[in-house]
């Protein structure tokens, strides 16, 4: 039977042999001790693969050498990450303060970091971002502060590089739209250490000119470092303080220096600025001509409407044919006259009838019939009718009215008293008897 000899662990790694090895746990412990002696250090690299899980206090990233493909895993407290001015992007250059650490379970080595800072361009961008937040909080980017551009500026102030492409782009594009536009051009350094001072000075001068109604700050494209002056705090505050509207025309479409946020108008390029500061002459003249045509047409239409309305009124019968009024009255008069005449005729006819009737009655009452039967009416000279012979003394003229005429006779006196009476007694008695 092999009784195991008491295990004697070699004190050092060098003392181990195949027959007297260390167990893994011994190696782990020893290495942990060894690694713990290494001091914390600053190491620079690129961030690749950043992992953070919600709710966890620690995040993990891989720090890779900028030139060769060697890397370390890094652990970092999440609050350090959150305290950064800008979120970490993949490939960002950083410096990390960390101590090497052995992860005992797997025996893997990593860096336990307690600080992380961006460097290089990352640092610059971070600084810009910080300034952006500061000025935004002060309200310098607020929409209410933006002044509208004048429709037609008397003079356009231009701050740009001497004889630069930016200058040419602004001027040519503006003149194409409005040939009469006037420029006041102030050439400045647009990058480097003197840029900020020169641009600010030019801005002040142009702002003080009363005829300059808009200022354009323009430069062509460049690297982040080249465009840095246009994210400079002093320059930005100078622009914010300008009373004249300022147009920012820096670099290309993708560039966004902070000047873009402070300016009253952001043009994507100098060419774009040239187009925005003046109106298009041809368009404006066409618009004016059209407005005049429309005004004249509207007035003509109004006059035509009024004229046809008037013609309509004039055509109304009461005005156009006034004879109708008179005709109506005339007809009425004729009708009335007819009625009058007809009434008169009827009255006359009635009267004639009446007369006719009366005549017949008179005729009926007349003594003519009696006279025709042989009677005579005896009238004395004064016209009185004689009924009594005693009333007529002898010798008086009598008028005898016979049927066929009047007879004059001299009265001899009453017949009964006369001499004739005796001679003809028999005849007269007979005659007397014959008389009815």
């Amino acid at each position: 039977m092999n009784r195991p000899t008491p295990v004697v662990l070699p004190p050092t790694a060098g003392a181990t042999t195949a027959e007297h090895p260390w167990p893994v746990r011994m190696l782990t412990a020893k290495l942990t001790e060894y690694v713990a002696k290494a001091p914390a250090l600053w190491v620079e690299g690129q961030v690749v693969q950043l992992t953070r899980r919600p709710g966890q206090g620690t995040c993990y990233l891989t720090l890779r050498d900028t030139d060769v493909d060697l890397s370390f895993s890094v652990t970092l407290a999440v609050r350090v990450l959150d305290a950064l001015p800008a979120p970490l992007t993949d490939g960002a250059r950083v410096v990390v303060h960390a101590r090497p650490q052995l992860f005992p379970r797997r025996g893997s080595l990593h860096l336990a970091a307690d600080d992380l800072r961006p460097v290089g361009v990352g640092e610059l961008l971070a600084r810009i971002e910080h300034l952006r937040r500061l000025l935004a909080a002060e309200g310098l980017f607020a929409a209410e502060r933006k002044r509208p551009l004048p429709f037609l500026p008397r003079v356009v102030g231009l701050v740009c590089g001497r004889a630069s492409a930016a200058e040419r782009d602004v001027v040519e594009n503006a003149r194409r739209r409005w040939p009469a536009v006037r420029f006041d051009i102030r050439p400045v350094a647009v990058q480097g250490p003197t840029a900020v001072t020169e641009v600010v000075e030019a801005l002040h001068r142009l702002d003080a000119e009363p005829e300059v109604d808009v200022i354009v700050v323009a430069r062509g494209g460049g690297s982040l470092e080249d465009l840095l002056p246009f994210s400079n705090e002093a320059l930005l505050r100078a622009v914010a303080a300008c009373r004249t509207p300022v147009v920012s025309a820096i670099g290309h479409e993708v560039d966004s220096p902070l000047l873009d946020l402070v300016a009253d108008v952001r043009a994507s390029t100098p060419t774009d600025a040239g187009k925005r500061i003046v109106p298009d002459v041809a368009e404006e003249l066409a618009g004016v001509a059209q407005a005049r045509r429309r005004a004249a047409a509207a007035l003509r239409a109004r006059l035509d409407r009024e004229a046809s309305g008037l013609a309509g009124l004039r055509a109304r019968p009461v005005l156009a044919d006034p004879h109708r009024l008179l005709v109506a009255h005339g007809d009425q008069v004729v009708a009335l006259r007819e009625r009058a005449r007809s009434a008169l005729r009827s009255a006359l006819a009635r009267a004639a009838d009446d007369v006719g009737h009366l005549r017949e009655r008179v005729a009926a009452l007349s003594p003519a019939a009696t006279l025709a039967r042989g009677y005579a009416i005896v009238q004395s000279a004064d016209g009185a009718i004689v009924r009594d012979p005693a009333a007529v003394p002898g010798g008086e003229l009598l008028r005898l009215r016979l049927a066929k005429g009047d007879l004059a006779a001299w009265a001899e006196g009453p017949w009964a008293d006369g001499p004739w009476n005796e001679a003809d007694d028999d005849e007269s008695d007979a005659e007397e008897e014959e008389l009815p």
Partner: protein, 71 residues
């Protein structure tokens, strides 16, 4: 009466003409009044036509002058 028609503005004359036509068409006025109304209507219509002709002349003159200027 035609004297005061001359002093009327265009809208006044036109509105009065409308009223005259309305009254004539409604009837009821005496013959004497109808004749007078009709005479006034004629005077008003003549005034309106005169005004419109003058306005057209002004417009045409102004346009002729302006198109001469912009050349």
């Amino acid at each position: 009466m035609s004297g005061d028609v001359e002093k009327l503005g265009y809208e006044q004359a036109r509105d009065e003409l409308v009223e005259v036509v309305r009254r004539l068409e409604a009837g009821g006025a005496s013959l004497e009044e109808s004749l007078e109304l009709w005479e006034r209507g004629e005077a008003l219509a003549a005034r309106c036509e005169q005004w419109l002709a003058g306005a057209r002349a002004r417009l045409d003159a102004a346009l002729a002058k302006d198109s001469g200027n912009t050349r």
